[in-house]
């Protein structure tokens, strides 16, 4: 463990605790993480009693060597991208803690919980209004997008 960089050491600790005590509905794809510690796939379940009940989603976390001082790059991947006013059809998420409100005291677990709660509080399944234009023109890395956060209610 001594050969690890501070960033790897912290990721390792986070991984251990996520595997040991995962929050409800969140599971780490350990196979993907074993291949590469800087890219994690995480499965999250739509909670019961919400619009996403019974659905399964997959998140991709990418970490650079400045993590946790730099935020992770988080997108939805796979065949089922949640239909939500803050989630673009290419998987990009408009969530302030992923860019300007990121704090190094946040973690993979707290990001997962924020995304789960963002989904749970949704009252109408629809895509963001500028989805078509955005998906056509955006950078592959959602962190390169300057997001304007507008509404915390959904």
């Amino acid at each position: 463990m001594s050969s690890m960089s501070p960033s790897e050491r912290r990721l390792h600790k986070e991984l251990m605790s996520l595997i040991k005590e995962p929050p409800p509905g969140v599971t780490v794809d350990t196979e993907s993480v074993q291949q590469n510690l800087s890219e994690w796939k995480i499965n999250i379940k739509g909670f019961e009693g919400t619009l996403y009940e019974g659905e399964d989603f997959q998140l991709l976390f990418k970490f650079n060597n400045k993590y946790p001082f730099d935020s992770p790059e988080v997108t939805f991947i796979g065949t089922n991208i949640p239909v939500h006013p803050h989630v673009y059809s290419n998987g990009h998420i408009c969530l302030s803690i992923l860019t300007e409100d990121w704090s190094p005291a946040l973690s993979v677990q707290s990001v997962c919980l924020s995304i789960a709660s963002m989904l749970s509080s949704c009252r109408e399944k629809k895509r963001p209004p500028d989805n078509t234009l955005y998906v056509k023109t955006c950078n592959k890395n959602p962190k390169k997008t300057k997001w304007w956060y507008h509404d915390d209610s959904v």
């Binding site: 912290r10 001082f69 730099d70 704090s103 963001p128 955005y134 955006c138 997001w147 304007w148």
Partner: protein, 514 residues
């Protein structure tokens, strides 16, 4: 007032002085003439338009830092807080002492400090005991605590008054990252999630513990200070590190100690008679044909409050102006205030109508005004190019002055250089006079303006030709008289044109074409 420090420009009557000592730069220069009692003669009503003084000082980077300290001290004479806390609060109010005092006396201390993102220094300290994510061993030995960032046990955790604490290594990296990678200084918060308490400058130096990072931080702080402060502006000349400080904000000519003369209102080269906003439109329009500008026209809009050019690169329509002194919330689609949009942000129904109408109008305007535009543009460009040539003239004139010194003294040949100065000044004024005229609607005053412009242009061309072709050492004294006469006449024509325009601004004669 030390007369050595004072310079004055004969044409504008603008005066300023350079600050020589930190203690002197705060004083405002008032025109001596203002303090004299003078009876305004009815036949000279133009006098106040012709001679009006604009006082300003040039500050070096060190003087700016000192100036900040002075303001902090002034505020602390009333508030009696630690300087670092006062600095954060001042920055919150964009260094406007009056607003700060107003808020201080009208709101509760708790609310006041909360709004400025600092911990209330008068609150009972027990509330702010360390609340790190620490797990302490109860063995009585030095307590080992877990740092909330690296998740490693550490002997000592440090933090701000909010009580969130992290290990020294994490603080160092956090602050270095914020300052050097993200370019933040005043707005760095405690690293804890959801904590909006700001890192003060004293804590920064202590926790960053790195000379290079601290130097960068100091630079950023000074930068924000000048940019937030409506009474200050950086000299836009490349690699100049001075700033200009004025006592009231107005679009006026200022000259930095590096020699660059520019407009305090917008930072462009001094552009009388045209106003800042029209010049900005003109410059944008000039670039409209290039690819870049097509892009700018399509992808940018101006902030409806501060006119900064804004690019939207995705995300939602709720825009927050990033200009540190503006921060206006508005809707990208209708450019109205964001407030009424509320939560139904995507059903802003003003979109189709307005945007469509604007686009159609813009197109029509563009076509019908192309010929007119080219008329003014060609003349504007012509004077600009001539002005660049005139700068070459300085070298020629210098050579001639050396030749002449066989027959005349150094002081006697200065008239040549001064004549080129006048010529360059006239070229600049003529250049901007075409921008002014382009946006001007026809009326009788415009006819007078155009007559003045013609006279000035003729005078300018005459002196230009004379300086370029007629100067020879043979006819020295004859030429000297001619050059002096011509430059005097040019200067006079320029004053006439500018005074007329100023009078027009004052009396509302000018009607501009939107």
């Amino acid at each position: 007032m030390n007369s050595d420090d004072e310079y004055s420009d004969e044409d504008h009557g603008d005066s300023y002085r350079l600050a020589n000592s930190p203690s002197s730069y705060m004083t405002c220069v008032e025109s001596d003439e203002d303090t004299c009692t003078e009876i305004d003669l009815p036949e000279r009503p133009k006098r106040p338009i012709e001679i009006d003084e604009f006082a300003y000082t040039v500050l070096t980077a060190d003087q700016i830092v000192q100036h900040q300290r002075n303001i902090i001290d002034e505020v602390n004479n009333v508030l009696h807080l630690s300087p670092q806390v006062t600095r954060i609060i001042l920055n919150h109010y964009k260094w406007d002492k009056e607003t700060l005092f107003e808020r201080y006396f009208e709101s509760s201390p708790q609310e006041f400090f909360h709004r400025a993102h600092v911990v209330n220094p008068f609150a009972t300290p027990s509330k702010h005991s360390l609340k790190s994510s620490a797990t302490t061993t109860t063995t009585g030995k030095p307590r080992e605590q877990l740092c909330g960032i690296c998740y490693c046990p550490c002997e000592e955790l440090k933090g701000l008054a909010c009580g969130h604490a992290f290990c020294a290594a994490c603080w160092k990296q956090y602050l270095a990252n914020k300052t050097c990678s993200e370019g933040l200084a005043h707005s760095i918060t405690c690293p804890a999630a959801d904590c909006d308490i700001l890192v003060d400058d004293v804590s920064f130096v202590r926790l960053a513990d790195d000379a290079e990072v601290t130097a960068r931080y100091q630079q950023l702080i000074t930068n924000t200070f000048v940019e937030c402060n409506s009474l200050m502006r950086w000299c836009p000349a490349p690699s100049c590190t001075h700033a200009i400080k004025v006592s009231y904000c107005e679009p006026r000519a200022v000259r930095c100690s590096c020699g660059h003369e520019f407009c305090f209102g917008c930072g462009e080269n001094w552009h009388e008679p045209v106003s800042c906003s029209w010049l900005k439109r003109w410059l944008k329009k000039n670039n409209e044909d290039s690819e870049t500008s097509n892009w700018i026209a399509q992808h940018t809009k101006e902030c409806p409050k501060c006119n900064v050019t804004i690019e939207k690169d995705g995300g939602c329509n709720h825009m927050v102006c990033k200009n540190p002194s503006c921060r206006y919330d508005f809707c990208w689609v209708c450019l109205g205030s964001w407030e009424p949009h509320g939560s139904s942000w995507y059903s802003c129904n003003r979109y189709d109508e307005e945007e469509g109408k604007q686009a159609r109008q813009a197109q029509e305007r563009y076509r019908s005004s192309m010929a007119r535009y080219l008329h003014y543009y060609n003349r504007y460009m012509n004077h600009m190019l001539s002005m660049r040539m005139e700068h070459k003239l300085y070298a020629n004139v210098q050579a001639k002055m050396t030749d002449m010194q066989e027959n005349m003294s150094w002081i006697e040949v200065q008239f040549l250089k001064e004549a080129v100065d006048v010529l360059c000044q006239c070229r600049a004024t003529l250049m901007y006079s075409y921008v002014f005229a382009f946006y001007l609607r026809n009326n009788n005053q415009k006819i007078i303006f155009e007559d003045n412009q013609r006279d000035m242009e003729m005078a300018t061309e005459k002196i230009s030709e004379c300086l370029e072709r007629e100067i020879t050492v043979q006819n020295l004294y004859e030429v000297k008289q001619k050059v002096l006469d011509l430059s005097h006449y040019c200067r006079k024509r320029r004053t006439v044109l500018l005074v007329h325009v100023r009078e027009g601004y004052e009396k509302d004669w000018w009607d501009f074409i939107e």
